[in-house]
């Protein structure tokens, strides 16, 4: 108990305090200038907007993947299921260079896409793609246990009452899955907002266009602008806390629904 508290305070609380205090040496107006500078705003917008788009894509495809893995008997199901966790296990830098090599203009997928006039690497599309990669397991892993616990009685009842399969899905299955789907999507979003390693290689990191907020922190640190880096860090930390509380609320809602 004492050890737990000591460890947490030494490792987490004191450094966090340092982060929260640091930007104010610029004064409030200085802090505000850093946070509302066009470059910072563009980076924050990309990090949050990209994460939101990626989370939405993951919500749709994660639901399909979880449905297929739980409901259908397909050969190699166990292997595919294990593969879903790859983004948790694969170091982000490795994912970053792999995606970047795939979608570069001479890459396996980048070349055909470039022929169609679609540029993925070094654009915001590349950022979203990397965020989809790292977010997918959150949605699938949150949905899978709920889907397999969900009995088929309600669906059978709907069918005997004359509902079409589509009606059963939208009126019976989807409402039952909503809390888990929202939780998984929120987890994917939270992870994607702060993601660094898998994004920076494919993003190209052009200021105002494809530069994410965590990278801007790194750049400010390299310029020894500690206070500026901390200012952006505080904004991201505040949003992480909001996400954490939202997630806790979602999860207790999910618990009451199950």
């Amino acid at each position: 108990m004492g050890f737990t508290l000591f460890y947490l305070s030494a490792l987490v609380l004191i450094p966090l305090t340092a982060l929260v205090i640091r930007p104010w040496e610029l004064g409030f107006s200085g802090f505000w200038d850093v946070v509302t500078a066009p470059r910072t705003l563009a980076a924050l917008k990309l990090s949050f907007g990209g994460a939101a788009i990626a989370a939405a894509i993951n919500a749709v495809f994660g639901l399909i993947v979880a449905w297929v893995l739980v409901r259908y008997r397909i050969p190699g199901r166990r292997l595919i299921d294990a593969l879903v966790d790859l983004p948790f296990a694969l170091p982000t830098a490795v994912a970053g260079i792999a995606l970047s090599a795939l979608y570069a203009n001479n890459g396996w997928l980048g070349a055909p896409l470039a022929a169609l006039g679609i540029k993925v690497a070094y654009t915001p599309i590349g950022v979203v793609l990397a965020l989809v990669f790292i977010g997918l397991p959150f949605v699938v892993r949150t949905l899978e246990p709920v889907l397999s616990d969900m009995g088929r009685e309600a669906e059978e009842a709907a069918a005997t009452l004359g509902a079409s399969r589509f009606q059963t899905f939208t009126r019976v299955i989807l409402p039952a899955l909503t809390p888990a789907l929202l939780t998984g999507t929120a987890l994917a979003f939270a992870r994607a907002v702060g993601e660094y390693g898998s994004v920076i290689f494919i993003a190209g990191n052009l200021p105002m266009i494809s530069e994410i907020a965590p990278l801007l922190i790194v750049i400010k640190l390299q310029e020894y602008d500690y206070a500026g880096a901390a200012a952006i860090g505080v904004v991201m930390l505040a949003i992480s806390f909001v996400m954490l509380f939202a997630l806790n609320a979602l999860q207790s809602w999910m618990a009451t629904r199950r």
């Binding site: 340092a18 449905w67 702060g194 922190i217």
Partner: protein, 284 residues
């Protein structure tokens, strides 16, 4: 011909089945399998010898050593912390418990870059302790201690998160029985609690280790990228890639990808064999 074959009303129609299966497999193939294949094929694109040379050159070896050393320090510390934090949360009631669990979760939702940044602000040259550390010639940032600290920060939730639901489910009846029969605290822990949680613990340690060896963002902020000195394997991959040494970058990356595959295999094995003895819900 029997045309009254019973169709289960909760089965999807065959077209929907095929379409959904194809979409799911295509998505997994495109987003998960293909990047993995690219890593190995790029690593071997100039032959096996080139990949082997890239892994055995001195800077790469020093990166591998640093990564192993970092994990060897961070993982055992987080093991001890994870067990004691889970013990405190699961077996005792106290004020501020929900704050404690929120703090334990924090590294999962904080950007890795911010995790590294907080240590630079404390120990860096312009940080709180910077001038004092410089006076005594202690290097933390841009040296091993900083790398270890950042790694500990991003990986400490893994063991605790795994054990808290498990130990909460198990309750404290068995511990109370042991204590009432005269066992000491240590005996209770090693003979009763530990055997009950050993597979969950192993599971947590496995994930903790994978992340510790692969962490990039937090470590890159505190490491200073001194080649051959403070570059871990993921950082070495970045340096090589930015130097356009693609074969070498992917060769080192393929070692990390192998580590990920081994981790996934062990993880699936634990989930399959000891499903009842590790926590039911896995998010991370």
């Amino acid at each position: 011909m029997n045309d009254t074959v019973f169709k289960n009303p909760t089965d999807d129609n065959p077209t929907a089945r095929i379409v959904l299966t194809v979409v799911a497999l295509a998505f997994i193939g495109l987003f998960l399998l293909l990047p993995l294949v690219v890593v190995f094929s790029q690593a071997l694109s100039s032959g096996f010898a080139a990949a082997r040379d890239a892994i055995t050159e001195p800077d790469a070896l020093s990166a591998i050593y640093l990564t192993l050393l970092t994990a060897a320090i961070a993982v055992p510390l987080n093991l001890v912390f994870g067990v004691s934090a889970a013990w405190a949360v699961a077996k005792f009631d106290f004020r501020g418990k929900s704050i404690l669990t929120t703090l334990i979760d924090l590294p999962f939702s904080v950007s890795p870059v911010v995790s590294g940044l907080v240590y630079v602000l404390v120990f860096g040259l312009q940080g709180w302790l910077g001038p004092w550390l410089r006076e005594y010639d202690i290097k933390i940032i841009f040296a091993l201690p900083g790398i270890v600290l950042a790694t500990i920060f991003v990986t400490f939730p893994f063991v605790a998160r795994e054990l808290i639901p498990l130990m909460t489910d198990q309750g404290r009846d068995e511990e109370e029985a042991a204590v009432s029969l005269g066992a000491t605290g240590f005996q209770t822990f090693f003979r009763v609690t530990l055997p009950n949680i050993k597979w969950g613990l192993l599971y947590g340690v496995l994930l903790c280790n994978a992340r510790a060896m692969g962490e990039f963002g937090a470590v890159s902020v505190v490491s200073g990228h001194i080649r051959g000195r403070t570059d871990t394997m993921p950082l070495h991959v970045e340096v090589l890639y930015n130097d356009y040494q693609y074969v070498s970058a992917f060769a080192v990356a393929s070692l990390l990808a192998l580590l990920a595959l081994v981790t996934l295999a062990l993880k699936s094995f634990l989930e399959w064999r000891y499903a009842d003895e590790i926590a039911a819900v896995h998010r991370h």
